[in-house]
């Protein structure tokens, strides 16, 4: 088979009309999708140019060279927007809280599950822990209303009104992060569990002979064993620190707390599509991407400098 492939590699260099004709079915089976991806993925990429132009519904139909070029004006208007500062604080606050809490919870869950020795129970626990991951955010939002709204399940258990989803303060960040952790905990643990499965079992046996107790084994073998995985995942999440999704924020928000749930992607939607200021909306999106890539590269660099495994 390997030989076969090598021979084919050689044939590839001679591109003649004859080969094109011979492979006409392959072309017929792939060209429609090439056209599709150019339309749906590459044309929007070209849309980044709108960030530097004045684009309003009236001027959208104009060809690109006839639109007014405004340099960084869209960015400046975005940054000076009345709610931009609070939006930025919310985005960073929710993101950092989520990265910190989400990572710790997922690792703890994975470590504990790894220690659980009743196989059947372990399997059931794991399967059930995935359930919320497969359920859509709309459904989660509906369920969250029961639990966190005034007079909801948690208020009933607490016996007082905690105003969890009606206080206009960063408390809503905590509520959102808790809900997100609840939804994704079991799912995010999978990657750590598979890293743990790769740890040499001999290490545990040796440690046991040396008299290490269970906590020492977790601390000195399991956690260092999954350290590269943790670092790689952290680097990747740092890249998405400004990319907090709009769907979750919008669904878990309400009029009372909206000041503290607004994030950049939602802001971009409101200004770009809600108020039809396409240029500004695109500029915010571009800002998010550029900052994301920059942070990813910085985090990667730092990881390399302190001697951790790098992403690339």
């Amino acid at each position: 088979m390997a030989k076969n492939k090598a021979r084919k590699q050689n044939d590839k260099h001679k591109i003649t009309w004859e080969t094109v004709w011979k492979q006409r079915y392959l072309f017929m089976m792939s060209l429609p999708f090439v056209i599709w991806i150019i339309i749906f993925k590459y044309i929007p990429l070209w849309g980044w140019t709108m960030a530097f132009q004045e684009v309003k519904p009236a001027t959208f139909a104009l060809p690109i060279w006839e639109r007014k070029f405004v340099g960084f004006d869209n960015f400046m208007r975005g940054f000076q927007d009345r709610i931009f500062k609070q939006t930025m604080i919310n985005t960073l606050g929710i993101s950092i809280l989520q990265i910190a809490v989400g990572t710790i919870v997922a690792i703890t869950f994975a470590v504990l599950l790894n220690e659980l020795c009743f196989t059947k129970f372990k399997k059931i626990s794991q399967t059930i822990s995935y359930l919320p991951h497969f359920v859509s955010w709309v459904i989660i939002a509906s369920i969250a209303k029961n639990l966190f709204n005034d007079g909801g399940v948690i208020d009933t258990i607490a016996g007082t009104n905690l105003h969890l989803m009606s206080t206009n303060s960063p408390l809503i960040w905590v509520v959102i992060v808790i809900i997100d952790c609840w939804k994704e905990m079991g799912w995010n643990a999978i990657i750590y569990l598979s890293a743990m499965a790769g740890i040499d079992q001999g290490l545990y046996e040796a440690a046991q002979i040396d008299g290490a107790n269970r906590f020492q084994r977790i601390w000195h073998i399991t956690l260092p064993g999954i350290r590269p995985t943790i670092i790689v995942l952290l680097i990747m999440t740092i890249g998405s620190v400004l990319g907090v999704g709009m769907e979750r924020q919008m669904l878990l928000s309400n009029g009372l707390v909206q000041d503290h749930t607004m994030v950049l992607s939602w802001f971009s939607y409101l200004r770009g599509i809600g108020s039809s200021d396409y240029g500004l909306g695109t500029a915010i999106g571009l800002f998010q991407s550029v900052v994301g890539v920059t942070l990813l590269l910085i985090a990667n660099k730092i990881a390399g400098m302190v001697g951790e495994d790098k992403l690339v």
């Binding site: 492939k5 072309f27 089976m29 396409y278």
Partner: protein, 288 residues
């Protein structure tokens, strides 16, 4: 494996996980119980998981007057069509890109893989779909923009790469053309991976909400309908309907019934789906 005598820690772990399971399941059971409970009775206290006054009237109301029948079928149509078309297109493309002798193998592969890392973002995509292609409120908007997930395509391609090449060559000698080889030889061998990606597409389609929200508010799906109910109830703060004294149905009861209708297909499917998803997830972390 280190075999140990069971210690207090093992039993503590069981208690911890029992607690986690309760936290995970309680919210779902609570929703189910409220949806099956008499709506006015629910207003007294919503903290329960066994219906106090069992009734099916919430569901009856939701299906007869709640206007969710059309959204339900829209969701079903979108899921079925999206999955079917998605699977066929993904497999077809994956097959051509698995053919190393295909002269466009390399450029096409690069063209597709790049899009996994860079995207145009929300506003340019929105403008393309609504202003340039005029797909707003058209059923096609549910199918076309997400026609092929490149990740799924790579899954199928690496599966095809693992199949013996000899089968394709034998078919070729028998005079089959590339299209025939694809659907008569390769596709039947791909059943496991087809099942996997079909589940990916189906769960994605059933759960998606932003596509309706952004592009097709006139073609509401179940998820969108539920969103509308959530945001309406937010305004009315769950005041119950006093006009119907005989069969009181509160916004909350309606919301719970719709939530259950939207959740049930996922709950039925996900235990079967999860192992494929996990396979896909760990493959992604190991391969390239």
């Amino acid at each position: 494996m280190v075999k140990n005598k069971r210690t207090w820690f093992d039993y503590l772990l069981v208690v911890i996980f029992a607690f986690i399971l309760v936290i995970t399941l309680y919210p779902f059971l609570n929703v189910l119980a409220i949806s099956l409970n008499d709506a006015t009775d629910t207003l007294k206290n919503i903290n329960f998981i066994i219906p106090r006054k069992f009734t099916l009237s919430n569901y009856k109301y939701v299906f007869e007057e709640g206007g969710i029948v059309a959204p339900f079928f829209m969701s079903v149509a979108k899921t079925v069509v999206g999955t079917l078309v998605g699977v066929i297109c993904t497999c077809m493309l994956a097959y051509t890109l698995s053919r190393r002798d295909f002269i466009c193998h390399k450029p096409f592969t690069i063209l597709f893989v790049i899009t996994m890392y860079v995207g145009g973002g929300m506003i340019p995509e929105y403008l393309l779909i609504m202003r340039t292609l005029h797909l707003g409120n058209n059923f096609l908007v549910y199918i076309l923009p997400g026609l092929v997930w490149v990740y799924n395509m790579i899954l199928v391609r690496s599966y095809i790469d693992g199949l013996p090449m000899a089968l394709q060559e034998a078919a070729k000698l028998d005079g089959a053309n590339d299209f025939q080889i694809w659907y008569k030889v390769v596709m039947p061998l791909c059943t496991p991976v087809i099942a996997t990606i079909a589940l990916f597409y189906a769960v994605g389609q059933w759960n998606s909400f932003m596509d309706t929200y952004l592009y097709a508010k006139d073609l509401p799906t179940l998820q969108y309908k539920l969103y509308e109910i959530i945001s309406q109830a937010r305004m009315q703060v769950d005041t119950h309907n006093t006009s119907e004294t005989t069969q009181a149905v509160t916004p909350m009861a309606i919301r719970m019934a719709v939530t259950i209708v939207a959740t049930v297909p996922i709950v039925i499917v996900y235990p079967f789906v999860q192992k494929y998803f996990i396979g896909g997830m760990t493959l992604g972390s190991v391969k390239d």
